[in-house]
C-alpha cells in the first residue's frame, strides 16, 4: 500500500511537469489516468483559496462537499486524493450526483454533464448559489464553470470566471486568480 502510494506520488509529481509521460514512460491510458489524478487533486486544492458565505456550511465542523455531476471520470482517485484532508476545519466529503441544483449542498461541483442533466443545465441550476463550479475543457461539453480546467504547454492549468464567482457569492483569492491562465471579469 505504502509502496503504491509512493510510486503514485512520484508519478504525480512527474506528471505535473511533463504530462506527456516521458519521465514515467507510461502507456497512453496511464497518462490519461495521471491527468485525471492531477485534476482530482486540483478539485480539493482549490478549496483553501475560495471563501463561501457563512451559511454555506451547516456548522463549524460541517464537511466541505465536493460533488461530481454526471459522468464521473475520476472513480476512486478522488476519494484517494481527498481522504483525510480538511480545509479550514471542514473535512472533505465527495458526493456523486446525476442532477445538480441549488439545494444539493455542494461547495465545489465538478460539472461533467450526463444523461439526466446536461452540463449547461447543471451550471444554470446552481446559478447564484454559493457553489464553485468546475468544468473540464474537452469533457462533457463547451460550457464553462467558474473554474475551467485546461491543458496548456503540457500542464494542467485553469481559467477563472470571476464575474460568475461574484454572482454565485463565492470569493476567490487573488493568489488563485494570479495563477489563472485567464480571468474573466
Amino acid at each position: 500500500m505504502s509502496e503504491r502510494r509512493a510510486r503514485s506520488a512520484r508519478c504525480r509529481a512527474g506528471a505535473a511537469m511533463v504530462l506527456a509521460g516521458a519521465l514515467c514512460a507510461a502507456p497512453r491510458a496511464f497518462a490519461d489516468n495521471l491527468e485525471l489524478a492531477v485534476k482530482a487533486t486540483y478539485l480539493y486544492k482549490l478549496a483553501p483559496f475560495v471563501s463561501w458565505p457563512a451559511n454555506a456550511y451547516a456548522g463549524p465542523n460541517a464537511p466541505l462537499t465536493i460533488c461530481v455531476q454526471g459522468a464521473d471520470p475520476f472513480g476512486p482517485m478522488l476519494e484517494r486524493a481527498t481522504s483525510g484532508q480538511a480545509v479550514g476545519g471542514h473535512p472533505l466529503e465527495v458526493r456523486r450526483l446525476a442532477r445538480l441544483d441549488a439545494n444539493s449542498g455542494c461547495h465545489i461541483a465538478y460539472v461533467a454533464g450526463g444523461a439526466a442533466q446536461s452540463q449547461a443545465q447543471a451550471l444554470s441550476a446552481v446559478e447564484g448559489a454559493p457553489v464553485l463550479t468546475v468544468t473540464d475543457e474537452g469533457r462533457g461539453g463547451p460550457a464553462k464553470g467558474i473554474v475551467n480546467l485546461l491543458i496548456e504547454a503540457g500542464k494542467v492549468r485553469f481559467s477563472i470566471d470571476a464575474g460568475q464567482a461574484d454572482r454565485n457569492g463565492v470569493a476567490i483569492s487573488s493568489k488563485l486568480l494570479a495563477l489563472a491562465v485567464t480571468v474573466k471579469r
Partner: protein, 590 residues
C-alpha cells in the same frame, strides 16, 4: 637630616588617587560602552531576524497558491522578486513533503538545504536563516526558506564605530591624565628632594654659624689677652705691693688700712675683669632676652678701658630711659668689643672713642627697618675713617683691611649679624680722615628687662640680734676658712664641713638657718648635696658659690630658684646675700 615635607607626600598620594579615579572612570566608561554595544548588537540581530521573518512570511503567503498547484514559473517569479532585495542571499520553496521545489541563491552564497529545515529563525555567523511553513486555511502546503547575506565586518565595525571612538578617546584621556600625574609626581619628588637638601644645608649652616660665633669670640679674646695680661700684672703688682708694705710695717695702723684698701680695690678690679672674660667665653647657644643696653655698656666700662689702652679716651653717653632690646647679651658685648678693637686699631696714635645710646623713632619709608622705636647704640672714633668702597664691603665676612694675622674680617660681620638678630640694622658713617661712626639700630623691646639679682643694699650687713647659724661647706680649706671668718665677724654662728658627707653628718644633728655650698666638690657636688639637704631641712635657703664659667650649667643642676654667689666674692657681697636670703625666708630679726 632627611626629613620629608608631609604636604609633598600628601600631594603625591592625591595625584595617585586622581590617576586611579581616572582609570576607574575609563573602565566604567568602557564597560558601559561594551554593554551598550552588546545590547545594540542584539537589537540589530533581532531587527535583522525580524526583517528576514517578514520577508519569509510574505514569500510564504504569496507562494501558497503556486505551490499548491505546482506552478513553478509563478514560484520562480516570487523568488525573483525577492532577489531585488540585496540582503537576501538565498531562498527556496519546499513542497508538503519537504522536497525543494524552487531554489535561488546568489553566486557567492551557498545553495539552500535540499530538504526543508525545521520552521523557525536562526542567527548563525552574521546571517539569518528563516524557515516558514506555507499553509492556506489550515492546509499545510509546504515551506519557504530564506537566508540573508552575512553582514560584512566593515558594516559591523561601522555600526560599532562609536564604541571604538569612545574607547580611543577614553584611552587618550587616560594617557593625558596619567602623563600629567606622573609629571606632577616627578616634580613633587624633585621638590621634596630640594626641600630635604635645603633643610640639610640649613642645618649645616646653623652649625657653621655656631662655630663661627665661637671662633669670633675666641678671636676677640685673643686680641684682648695681651692687654688683659698686662693689666693683671699691674693689679697683681698693686696687691703684691700692698701686702709687702703691710708685712714690713704692720704696726702703722693707719697706713695698713690705706694699703689694704688699695689691695682690695685692685683685687676687685681683677675680679671684675675675670667675671667679664668668663661670661664672655661661655659657649652657649644664642639666647634672645630683653635687657637694657645702657646697663651692658656701663658694665663693660673697665673691659673697654683696658681694651683701648691708655692713649685712647673713652667717653660714654647713655640715655636715661633704660630702653631694653631683645638680643643675645654676650653677642652684643662681643659686638661692642669688636667695635672698640676696630676703633683702637684705627687710632694708633691715640684719640677719643665715644659710645652713646639714644632712642630713635624710625618712621615709615626706611628701606630696611620697620617703623617704630629703636635704640641707637653708636660707637664713634676719631680715627682715619674709611673710604666709600671700604664702607660698602665693611660688613662682608672675611673682608679686612688689617694685615695678615691681625684680623679675620669677621668682626664687623658679627656686629651686623647681632643688629639684624635684634630686629635692627648696623650702619656706618665715615669719611677718610674724619673718623667713623658705627650705629647699631636695635629694635626697642617692650618686654621688661631682666635685672640682675642684686643684693638689697639697704639692708644692714651685720647679723641681727640673737644671730643665725650658717653651715659653710667647701673642700678648699682657704676659701672655707675665709668665708667662715667673714661670717663670724658679721656675727653669725658658723658650722663648717669640708665635704658633702661631713655636711650631712652636721645636718643629722641640727638644721642651720642658711647653708652655703661650694658647687664644685669631689665625690658629692653642691647640687647633689643640696638635694639631700633639702629633704633633711626643708625651707632652709641654700647659697651656691661657684667659680665656674657656665652659670647655666649650675642653674640647671641646682634648680632655677637657686641663689648663686660667683667666686671670687667680697665680704660685703657675701654679707648682703646672706642677710637678704634670711630676710626673705622670714628669719631676719624684727
Amino acid at each position: 637630616m632627611s626629613r620629608r615635607d608631609p604636604s609633598l607626600s600628601d600631594g603625591r598620594l592625591a595625584d595617585r588617587r586622581l590617576v586611579n579615579v581616572a582609570w576607574a572612570g575609563v573602565a566604567a566608561l568602557l564597560a558601559i560602552g561594551v554593554l551598550l554595544a552588546a545590547r545594540s548588537e542584539l537589537d540589530d540581530r533581532s531587527r535583522a531576524t525580524r526583517a528576514a521573518e517578514v520577508q519569509a512570511d510574505i514569500l510564504a503567503a504569496s507562494v501558497s497558491a503556486a505551490l499548491s498547484f505546482d506552478d513553478r514559473a509563478a514560484m520562480r517569479e516570487y523568488l525573483g522578486a525577492l532577489q531585488v532585495n540585496r540582503a537576501v542571499a538565498a531562498a527556496a520553496v519546499y513542497d508538503a513533503r519537504g522536497q525543494a521545489v524552487v531554489v535561488f541563491h546568489r553566486p557567492d552564497a551557498p545553495s539552500p538545504p535540499a530538504r526543508a529545515p525545521a520552521p523557525g529563525a536562526r542567527f548563525v555567523e552574521r546571517h539569518v536563516a528563516v524557515t516558514r511553513g506555507v499553509a492556506e486555511q489550515g492546509a499545510r502546503l509546504g515551506a519557504v526558506y530564506l537566508e540573508t547575506r552575512p553582514e560584512s565586518w566593515a558594516s559591523i565595525l561601522g555600526r560599532h564605530s562609536n564604541l571604538g571612538v569612545m574607547t580611543i578617546l577614553a584611552f587618550l584621556l587616560l594617557g593625558v591624565v596619567t602623563a600629567a600625574a606622573s609629571q606632577l609626581q616627578h616634580r613633587a619628588r624633585l621638590l621634596s628632594a630640594a626641600n630635604a637638601r635645603l633643610l640639610e644645608e640649613m642645618a649645616a649652616r646653623g652649625e657653621a654659624e655656631e662655630a663661627l660665633r665661637q671662633s669670633q669670640k675666641m678671636e676677640a679674646l685673643g686680641q684682648l689677652t695681651g692687654g688683659i695680661a698686662h693689666d693683671f700684672n699691674n693689679l697683681l703688682q698693686v696687691v703684691h705691693g700692698a701686702f709687702e708694705l703691710i708685712r714690713r710695717r704692720p704696726d702703722d695702723t693707719d697706713k695698713v688700712a690705706a694699703w689694704s684698701e688699695n689691695g682690695i680695690a685692685a683685687a676687685e678690679r681683677g675680679a671684675s675683669l675675670t667675671r667679664q672674660l668668663l661670661a664672655f667665653s661661655r659657649s652657649q647657644k644664642l639666647e634672645l632676652r630683653p635687657f637694657v643696653v645702657a646697663d651692658l655698656i656701663a658694665e663693660m666700662h673697665d673691659l673697654l678701658v683696658r681694651t683701648l689702652g691708655p692713649d685712647i679716651v673713652l667717653a660714654v653717653a647713655l640715655d636715661e630711659t633704660r630702653a631694653a632690646v631683645m638680643s643675645d647679651r654676650t653677642q652684643l658685648e662681643l659686638a661692642v668689643l669688636n667695635l672698640a678693637i676696630n676703633a683702637r686699631d684705627a687710632m694708633p696714635d691715640g684719640g677719643r672713642l665715644t659710645i652713646s645710646t639714644t632712642i630713635r623713632a624710625i618712621g615709615p619709608g626706611d628701606p630696611v627697618l620697620e617703623p617704630g622705636d629703636y635704640v641707637d647704640l653708636s660707637v664713634a672714633d676719631t680715627g682715619d675713617g674709611m673710604a666709600p668702597e671700604v664702607i660698602e664691603r665693611a660688613f662682608d665676612p672675611f673682608f679686612t683691611t688689617k694685615g695678615v694675622g691681625k684680623g679675620t674680617g669677621l668682626g664687623l660681620s658679627q656686629v651686623y649679624g647681632v643688629a639684624r638678630q635684634a630686629g635692627g640694622v648696623a650702619r656706618i658713617a665715615s669719611t677718610p680722615g674724619g673718623g667713623t661712626v658705627v650705629s647699631l639700630l636695635l629694635r626697642h623691646s617692650t618686654a621688661t628687662a631682666e635685672a640682675g639679682a642684686e643684693p638689697d643694699e639697704s639692708l644692714p650687713i651685720l647679723a641681727p640680734e640673737g644671730g643665725h647659724t650658717v653651715l659653710v661647706v667647701d673642700d678648699e680649706d682657704a676659701v672655707r676658712t675665709l668665708a667662715c671668718e667673714t661670717l663670724k665677724l658679721l656675727g653669725y654662728r658658723v658650722l663648717e664641713a669640708d665635704s658633702g658627707a661631713a655636711a650631712l653628718e652636721v645636718l643629722a644633728t641640727a638644721c642651720p638657718d642658711l647653708m652655703l655650698f661650694d658647687y664644685a666638690m669631689p665625690a658629692m657636688n653642691g647640687a647633689e648635696l643640696a638635694r639631700v639637704a633639702r629633704l633633711r631641712c626643708p625651707g632652709v635657703p641654700i647659697v651656691f658659690a661657684s667659680g665656674y664659667a657656665d652659670t647655666d650649667q649650675v642653674e640647671a643642676a641646682v634648680g632655677g630658684e637657686a641663689t648663686i654667689l660667683r667666686k671670687p666674692f667680697n665680704m660685703e657681697t657675701l654679707a648682703r646675700t646672706v642677710s637678704t636670703l634670711l630676710r626673705d625666708a622670714g628669719k631676719a630679726g624684727t
